[in-house]
């Protein structure tokens, strides 16, 4: 394997079609990069030609998601167009009535706004904190072995423990926040101030997802071979420069993965936190879309309403994800 100095650097190759430029830096620096791509494919990636094998490899997952997701989800979402009786025994077809009722209700639009704020805040907080922590841990200073484990522990906490612990930390009369309230009385009260309640659920949710993001960031960073870092250091790049120009760009695929997953989960997986901590209050300040679905459908037995809301939520998340794939992924350099 020869390693020309151009291979270590960033040599743009001529673009084919509308594809993004691909770099050949990174962990595979020992592999010769080809300058020209003769292929005519849109994606410019090598592949195996056996069709049937490809399909056979993905068949198990397709079978699983059809049986355990799409079939049940189809039944559940069909209920959005009817008024379904929880115990069965009949339903009324109402077409789009559930949707129109939902979309003309200002309370519902409030939940859309709350969900968007929550998603942005928790994703931003979790990812930025996790990235910083991963970069710091990756430096492998003394004690890094402990950090690598303990910083992942929050993801393993059981929900009841999370609720109890955060109640202790964040409740205005208990524990830590009581000090704050002694100095500035009435400043912090998540039972009555909507913004405080939103902060509570953002912190509790992010706390878990910082761990989640951290482990994936760390895995990606640890896959960057030491020789590369040393080479860059010898080229005169300081610590921060290496972080900014080498490590973070190499993290781009992981970053994209985590942004999409964090945003999606903050829309679809956050009802547990809300149920434990605020139950949508005070005065609907933390009534996230998914919590409303959980409350109406799982607790309140309004299957049709919950199904209609679920369809709207799914469409929202799908559009958001497509937007990310189209606009953000374009700028990621995979190779």
């Amino acid at each position: 394997m020869t390693t020309s100095d151009s291979e270590l650097g960033l040599v743009p190759r001529p673009l084919v079609g509308g594809e993004a430029p691909e770099r050949s830096a990174g962990r595979f620096a020992g592999v010769p990069a080809s300058r020209k791509r003769e292929r005519a494919q849109m994606e410019g990636r090598a592949f195996f030609t056996s069709h049937w094998l490809g399909i056979a490899l993905i068949a198990p997952q397709i079978l699983l998601i059809f049986t355990f997701f799409y079939w049940p989800a189809g039944v559940a979402l069909f209920w959005a167009f009817t008024l379904e009786r929880p115990w069965g025994g009949g339903n009324e077809w109402v077409g789009l009535a559930n949707f129109t009722a939902m979309l003309s209700d200002p309370v519902y639009w409030n939940s859309i706004v709350s969900s968007a704020i929550f998603a942005a805040a928790s994703t931003g907080l979790a990812m930025s904190t996790a990235l910083v922590l991963a970069l710091l841990t990756d430096r492998e200073l003394r004690g890094s072995r402990i950090y690598r484990s303990v910083l992942v522990w929050p993801f393993a906490i059981a929900a009841p423990a999370l609720g109890m612990a955060f109640r202790f930390i964040l409740a205005p009369e208990a524990g830590f926040m009581a000090f704050v309230n002694k100095i500035w009385p009435g400043l912090w009260n998540p039972a009555l101030h909507g913004a405080d309640a939103m902060i509570c659920i953002v912190i509790a949710f992010s706390w878990k997802y910082i761990s989640y993001d951290f482990i994936f960031f760390l895995a990606a960073l640890q896959a960057i071979p030491k020789s590369l870092i040393e080479a860059a250091a010898m080229d005169g790049a300081g610590l921060l420069r290496r972080m900014r120009d080498m490590q973070i760009p190499l993290l781009a695929p992981t970053l994209f993965f985590l942004i999409v997953i964090n945003l999606t989960d903050s829309f679809t997986d956050s009802f547990g936190i809300v149920d434990i901590m605020t139950q949508g209050g005070p005065a609907r300040a933390t009534e996230l879309m998914v919590y409303k679905i959980y409350f109406d459908g799982f607790k309140g037995l309004d299957y049709s309403g919950a199904a209609a809301q679920s369809i709207i939520l799914m469409l929202l998340v799908i559009v958001l994800t497509i937007a990310q794939f189209r606009f953000v992924e374009r700028r990621i350099h995979y190779k």
């Binding site: 009786r85 109640r167 409740a171 409350f295 607790k299 037995l301 049709s304």
Partner: protein, 448 residues
């Protein structure tokens, strides 16, 4: 040493022989319930008592973690073709089940299996909640409770009173006196969705104020909410005023200490909560604190009516074999025995649901001394007047969502976003829309 070992082995062998069942395996049935924590442990004990008391049937009791999960999981199991035989359904879930075709009515079950049940033995106030319009009971009341006023005797002594307030006017005066005597929190309450039942529902019950038309929904699915036009508006206004004056404080897990813990720790001097908390407060309060319970206050000049029963009842589901129904009937018969009522009320704060149970407990001196003294107030509160003079409870569809609307409305009041009448009007408007949806879902169905 040797002989002991030999005798031990032979005893063991003999015991193994004896243990081989010569009779058929017991018929097993599933009972799904929603309680968790300490109450769940007690339910398991009840099941164990039943299993130990006979050899023909065995009931397998599984906690689903919460009332909602119990109902939801049972629906899933039922629609998947594998329901449990008995399920515990909480008050709010009653109507959906009643309008469905999924259950085996209790009165029919017992009659079909040869049990003669005196349905009049059940306290009228409790019976009315779970009965059809003809008075047939479709489910078995299991864990029943009602709301009481808890008051701190030590604090009241300081303001020169030895009795709990009987009217809200008197209570307001007491709150002021307590505040002046230096107590920071004369009255604790909570306005989360799970907690509005005592502020609105029990209040309306004892005042004889309707929550909805058509006898609170017992008369038909086309009922409409009315609590924005009743004395409840006055109560909500008063509560807000007391809150603004610092006489009443909101105590919930979100502020740190919920209102029961606040009362038990002596931080707050009065609160409204279920008789079910009587035991907890006894266990967690300082033993030197003197406290007691009393009936819910009513406004001056109002005739006192029965309070509503809360809690859950046991329903038997369709889709099982005659053997399993025999087992279910035996179990349900077992738990309605007076001895079981004594056990249940001893280990939990729930009240006996049958007159014979209550008499049995009285004759055993249950209510004579702490920690149980005082709980008979709950029974008295449920039976102030004969049944028929008012709705026996609430029979409204999607009531959980309506409770949620009320809770949001109350929160808006207390966060100063809306005034009382405006918030309640909006709650009722949204609540009525929910009721109409429910009605449309069950188009053409009559209340049984």
């Amino acid at each position: 040493m040797r002989t002991t070992l030999f005798s031990a082995i032979s005893t063991l062998a003999f015991a193994c022989l004896l243990a081989t069942p010569a009779t058929a395996d017991p018929v097993k049935i599933d009972f799904w319930y929603g309680n968790s924590g300490d109450i769940s442990k007690r339910v398991q004990e009840v099941c164990q008592h039943f299993n130990d008391s006979q050899k023909d049937y065995q009931v397998v009791c599984t906690s689903q973690g919460s009332y909602y999960a119990a109902v939801q999981n049972t629906i899933a199991a039922f629609r998947g073709g594998k329901p449990p035989t008995i399920v515990q359904v909480f008050d709010v879930g009653t109507l959906d089940l009643m309008l469905s075709d999924a259950y085996y009515p209790a009165n029919k079950l017992m009659a079909d299996n040869g049990y003669k049940v005196d349905w009049n033995n059940y306290f009228p106030g409790i019976r009315a909640y779970y009965a059809s319009s003809k008075g047939d009971m479709f489910s078995f009341p299991f864990n029943s409770s009602t709301a009481l006023l808890y008051w701190n005797k030590d604090a009241f002594q300081k303001i020169g009173k030895t009795e709990a307030p009987k009217t809200w006017e008197e209570a307001a005066a007491d709150m002021k006196a307590l505040k002046d005597a230096g107590y920071d929190c004369p009255f604790a309450f909570d306005i989360s969705e799970e907690e509005s039942w005592q502020l609105m529902e029990q209040f309306s019950a004892v005042h004889g104020e309707p929550i909805a038309t058509k006898n609170n929904g017992f008369g038909g699915l086309d009922a409409e909410l009315t609590f924005n036009k009743t004395k409840f508006v006055k109560f909500a206004t008063d509560l807000k005023n007391w809150y603004d004056q610092g006489l009443a404080k909101i105590k919930s897990p979100k502020t740190g200490e919920d209102y029961v813990a606040a009362f038990a720790s002596g931080h707050c001097q009065m609160t409204l909560t279920s008789v079910g908390d009587h035991g907890n407060i006894g266990r967690t309060a300082d033993p030197n604190m003197h406290w007691d319970v009393a009936m819910l206050p009513v406004y001056e000049g109002t005739k006192r009516h029965n309070s509503f029963v809360g809690g859950a009842s046991l329903w038997v589901l369709k889709g099982h074999s005659p053997q399993e129904y025999k087992a279910a009937a035996a179990f349900l018969n077992f738990i309605s025995q007076p001895e079981q009522a004594l056990f249940w009320s001893t280990v939990t704060g729930y009240i006996p649901v049958t007159k014979t149970g209550f008499e049995y407990m009285k004759s055993h001196g249950f209510y004579d001394k702490p920690p149980y003294k005082g709980r008979e107030t709950a029974i008295a509160e449920l039976n102030v007047e004969p049944v028929g003079s008012g709705p026996g409870g609430i029979r409204l569809g999607n009531f959980l969502q309506i409770r949620g609307e009320l809770s949001n409305g109350l929160q808006e009041i207390f966060a100063n976003k809306k005034d009382v009448q405006q918030a309640l009007d909006e709650t009722v408007q949204r609540g009525n829309a929910i009721l109409r949806r429910f009605e449309a879902t069950y188009k053409g169905k009559q209340l049984p």
